[in-house]
Subunit: 314 residues, 2 copies
DNA sequence: ATCAGCAGTTTGTCTAAGACAAACGGGCAT
DNA sequence: ATGCCCGTTTGTCTTAGACAAACTGCTGAT
C-alpha cells in the first residue's frame, strides 16, 4: 500500500523513516509540530516525504537521546554542534566500578581486530582466550567486558553499528562453541533462559548460559522474544528449577516490569525467577531475583542448588 | 508513561496488546470502528483496556490472517468456528514441490524430540546427521526441510511458539558448530550475509552460510537487522564479492524492495547482490539475484567464482 | 551543605474521525 | 481456462487535542 516511486536517493515515507531512525511515527509528527524539525516535503495527498539529510540528522538526534539529551534540546540543537558534543562526550557515564581484571589488553586487541574488519583474527583471539581461561573466566573477564566496551564505544560514535553486529556474531558463535563441549551433569538443576517479548538481544543470554554450564547448572536456551505464556509452558514442560530473563539497557522498563510480574504470578512458587542483564538494574518487581552482576548470579545459583539438594534429601 | 496499575490478569493498554498480538495499534482501532471487535473497556480518561479474552481472540485472528483469511472475515468470525477451521485447515498451501529426499524420517524424529521437550535428544540427532551427511547435504536434506516443517506445523497450530523457539536455538547452534570446524580457503571469494532492518530471522542466514562454507566460499555473517548503509560499509570494508540478504516470509515486501533497490544503488556494480529465503520469492528488484532455492544459490555461486577467476587471471 | 518534597515543564502516547492508494475479489469477455 | 476491469476491502496516513509520567529546578528543613 505504499507507492514504489522513483526511489532516487531518499524519498522516505514516515513509516520508513521511523524504522530507519528508531524514532516512532508519533514522535516524528509531534516533533514537527512542537520544534519545527523535521519539516518534510509533502506529496500531493499531504503525506510526508523525508529527505536523506533529515534522516541523517534524525539518526544523530536518536543517538543524542540515548546518551541522555532531552528531546527538545537535541531536536533544536545545531546538528554540527551536536555531533561534536557527542563525539567529545567524555561524560564517561560508567566509571569502571568493579572492573574485572581482563587478561593483558585482550579486550583492546579484540576491539582493534573488529575495527580493522578482521573477523578471522578476532575469532582466533577469542578461541585462544576461551581455551586458556575456561568458560567462567572467559565470560567474566573477556566476553562481558568486551560487550560493555563495544557498547560504550558505539555510544561515543567511535564504532559503527556494523562493527557491533560483527562482534556480536563472532562472540555468540564462540560462546555456543564453548558451551557445546561441556558435558552436562544429569543431576544438575535445569534453568531456562530467554528474553521477554520485544527484547532481541541474545548475547547476555549466551554469556549467562555458558557461565552456568561451567558450574554444574544445566541451562536450556529458548532464544529471544518469547511471549510470557510460552515461557511458562516451556518452564513446566522442561521441568526447570528456575527461569532466567535477560534484559538489555534498551528495554522498555514498564513493559518489562509488567511482564515479569505476570510471569511471577503464572509460574509455580517453586520455580525461581531471575532477571539479569544491564537493564535489570532498573527493574523493580516483587518475587524476582536480581542477577545483574556475576556475584548476584553466583548467589542465586547457590541458593538454587541448596534448595535442590534439600528437596532430593527429603 | 504508562500507569503501573494492578496488573491482575489482563488489563492491557493498546500498545501492549499490539506487541502481544502483532496487530498494530492502528489496526486495533480501525477494526473496532469497522467490525465492532475488539471493543475494550475504557479507563476514566477514555484509553482502551483490553482483557485476556480479547487478546486470545486477537491472537487467533492474527494466525488466521497469516494463513490467508481476509481481515473482515477473520475478525467477524465466531472464534470457536475459526479455531476449528484453522486446525483442520488442510489447505496445505505448500504442495511438497521439489521435496528434497531427507534421510529416513530424520525430520519426523527431530520434530518428535522437540514436541517432547527433549532438547538433548534433538541436539544429539542433529549432531549425528551433520557428521554423517557433511555440511551441504545436512543443510539441504535436514536443516532446511526441518525448518519448513516446523513452520508448517506451527501454522496449523500443532506446535507452540516455544517449540519453534527451542528448535531454532538448537539448530542455530549446530549450524554454527559445523561451520566452525570448516577450514577456510584463503583464495575463496568472500560473501557477506545479513538481513535487512526489521528482519530478525537468522536461521536462513546460518543455513546459507554453512552451505557456502562447504563449497569454497568464505561467508561472513553480520547478524540480523542491519541498516542498509551499514551493509554497504561492511561490504566495502570486508572486500566481499557478493552480499547475501535473507528474507523471511513474514517480511514486509514493499519495505524489502525499497531497501534492496537502495542497496543495489549504493553498492559498486562489481559486488553482486543476492536475495534468498522464502520471502525472496515474492520480491521483484532489478539487479538483484534471486537465490530462493539451493539450485539458484548454486548457480549464483558458480557465476561468482567464474567472475572471480577471470578477474584474477586478467 | 545536603536532601526531601513540591510545583512546573517536558515529553510520549493516546484519542477521534476522515481520507486515500494499493491489494483483493468477483464478474465479464475473450 | 485466461485476461481485464471495476467495486470493495484494508492498512496507513492525516490533523488536532488531551493527559499522565518523568524530569527539572526551586524551596525549605535538617
Amino acid at each position: 500500500m505504499e507507492t514504489l516511486r522513483d526511489a532516487s536517493s531518499g524519498n522516505y515515507s514516515i513509516r520508513v523513516v521511523a524504522r530507519l531512525t528508531g524514532v516512532s511515527a508519533d514522535k516524528l509528527r509531534i516533533w514537527e509540530r512542537r520544534y519545527g524539525f523535521p519539516s518534510p516535503n509533502r506529496r500531493d495527498n499531504g503525506s510526508r516525504v523525508y529527505s536523506d539529510a533529515e534522516v541523517d540528522r534524525l539518526r544523530l538526534i536518536a543517538r543524542a537521546l540515548e546518551v541522555g539529551y532531552r528531546a527538545g534540546d537535541a531536536v533544536r540543537a545545531d546538528p554540527t554542534a551536536l555531533r561534536k558534543s557527542l563525539e567529545s562526550s567524555v561524560r564517561a557515564l560508567p566509571p569502571p566500578e568493579e572492573a574485572p581484571v581482563s587478561p593483558e589488553g585482550a579486550v583492546d586487541r579484540l576491539l582493534d581486530y573488529v575495527l580493522d574488519d578482521d573477523p578471522n583474527a578476532a575469532t582466533t583471539e577469542l578461541r585462544k582466550l576461551a581455551n586458556e581461561l575456561g568458560p567462567q573466566r572467559f565470560v567474566v573477564e573477556v566476553a562481558s567486558p568486551a560487550v560493555e566496551r563495544v557498547g560504550a564505544e558505539w555510544r561515543h560514535g567511535r564504532l559503527a553499528v556494523r562493527h557491533e553486529h560483527l562482534f556480536s556474531t563472532i562472540l555468540a558463535t564462540e560462546l555456543r562453541l564453548q558451551h557445546a563441549v561441556i558435558d552436562e551433569d544429569a543431576e544438575a538443576p535445569v534453568v531456562l533462559f530467554t528474553t521477554l517479548p520485544g527484547e532481541n538481544h541474545s548475547l547476555g543470554l549466551e554469556m549467562t548460559a555458558l557461565y552456568m554450564a561451567g558450574s554444574a547448572i544445566a541451562p536450556r536456551l529458548l532464544g529471544v522474544d518469547t511471549p510470557t505464556d510460552q515461557i511458562v509452558e516451556a518452564a513446566l514442560a522442561l521441568e526447570v528449577s528456575a527461569v532466567g530473563i535477560s534484559i538489555s539497557t534498551a528495554a522498555d522498563i514498564s513493559s518489562v516490569e509488567q511482564d515479569l510480574l505476570h510471569l511471577r504470578r503464572s509460574l509455580p512458587a517453586n520455580i525461581a525467577l531471575w532477571a539479569g542483564g544491564a537493564g535489570a538494574a532498573r527493574v523493580v518487581a516483587r518475587g524476582v531475583t536480581r542477577t545483574v552482576s556475576w556475584l548476584e548470579l553466583d548467589r542465586a545459583m547457590t541458593t538454587l542448588k541448596e534448595l535442590d539438594d534439600s528437596a532430593v534429601a527429603s
